[in-house]
Amino acid sequence: MSVLSLTLASSLVLISIFVSYYQKLGIEKEIVIGTIRAVVQLTIVGYILHYIFAANNVLFTLAMVTLMIVVAGNNASKRGKGIPNVFYFITFSIALSAAITISLLILFGNIHFRPQEVIPVSGMIIGNSMVASGLAVSRLKDEIKNKSEEIEAYLSLGATSRQAAQKVIKTAIKTGMIPTVDSMKTLGIVQLPGMMTGLILGGVDPIDAVKYQIMVTFMLASTVAISCFTVTFLTYRTFFTKQHQLRQAF
């Protein structure tokens, strides 16, 4: 793709600006800022990846993945604002899901430990993990706030914090996982996912592209399950005291 054709494609953004202006949505500024940020960030990342791929160094690869995890953890933790240590809980959950999933993919021979493979795959894992764990934490916080009396009813019958929170834990994990499960159901019919689209555009045979996409689908199912489960179980404890008392709202 030439720089000229990419520049011409940028005119597509004008459509969203026009819709915002016409409907008085007031988000023209955000669209412009978002567009500029996307271009700058992607360009920088492009150059960094170019360098890392050329260097083919384990430490550089791991550093890049670590940076992605920390940024994702920071972003997702905004959804759990007010919960003590939520950044650490989310970041750990994302890291754990990435470590387990990547390790298994390497073990099964789906990918090799090369920056060209590990970094893009990690990006997909971390991105989905970020969204899922943010949703789970946000739902957990809301559920505990809205169902505090019901939780106290469980506690007053002699339930432990874990038993009293069981229902809200389930709801939170489910909330984090549902978008991924839903998108799995419509893959290939409603949407051609990014990785598959990219491979097809890059000239790969659609049958081979589908194989990769199936791997990505399995990988994301595992990722969101691990991250939602981990972050919910780490976080729910902060809502209770050691004496199985529900803390006052954060």
Binding site: E149, A153, Y154, L155, S156, L157, K167, Q248
Partner: protein, 241 residues
Amino acid sequence: MNEIEFKEVSYSSFGKEILKNISVKFEGGAIHTIVGPSGAGKSTLIKLINRLIDPTHGSILIDDVDIKTIDVIDLRRRIGMVFQQPHLFEGTVKENIEYGPMLKGEKNVNVEYYLSIVGLNSEYATRDVKNLSGGEQQRVSIARTLANNPETLLLDEPTSALDPTSTEIVEKLIFNLKEKMNLTIIWITHNMEQAKRIGDYTALLNKGQLIEYDKTYDFFTNPQNEITKLFIQGKLKEEVK
């Protein structure tokens, strides 16, 4: 039969003092009604007894034993609590009644017995709690609490959302429970007539302070405190700010 004693108990939350230096002894095997305007600290007071919260100062004794020395889970099994809303768990009536005993590892819970105590027949056991009326739900909630065989019952306005017929049923039920099982019952109510009907003793809380505590008859016929007199006349909210 549990005697419950508050010794200079205060409770603060987010810098706000909700209960102030409460000292009172609730005799065992009696019904104690707690009255007072909204925000007086009534619900906070009973949550301290089963340690859903802990006091910021002072201590609470049950039969002369500091409740902080008792395992909190055991304590809550000995002290049942019924809330304003029944908060029944999803599922059948049977599953709700079995919940507390199952946590203790008990099997073969006599669900029919607990249903009979609250005046519901055994056919209710398999019914989904969603299909019960408000009054039936509250009775199931009481049965669920009783299934833990508590020695003390804490009731946080259990009839405030019920119609007069259901209220009468619940009142009779609690009164009979006290007689038959010799339970110590602490009952929060907004309704002075209810306190007169049901309470052996009545306490008035206002702005986190225990204003007066006496036998119910004496409380209403010969109040010793000016604030109590205003409350009985229905003027407390307007007069005391």
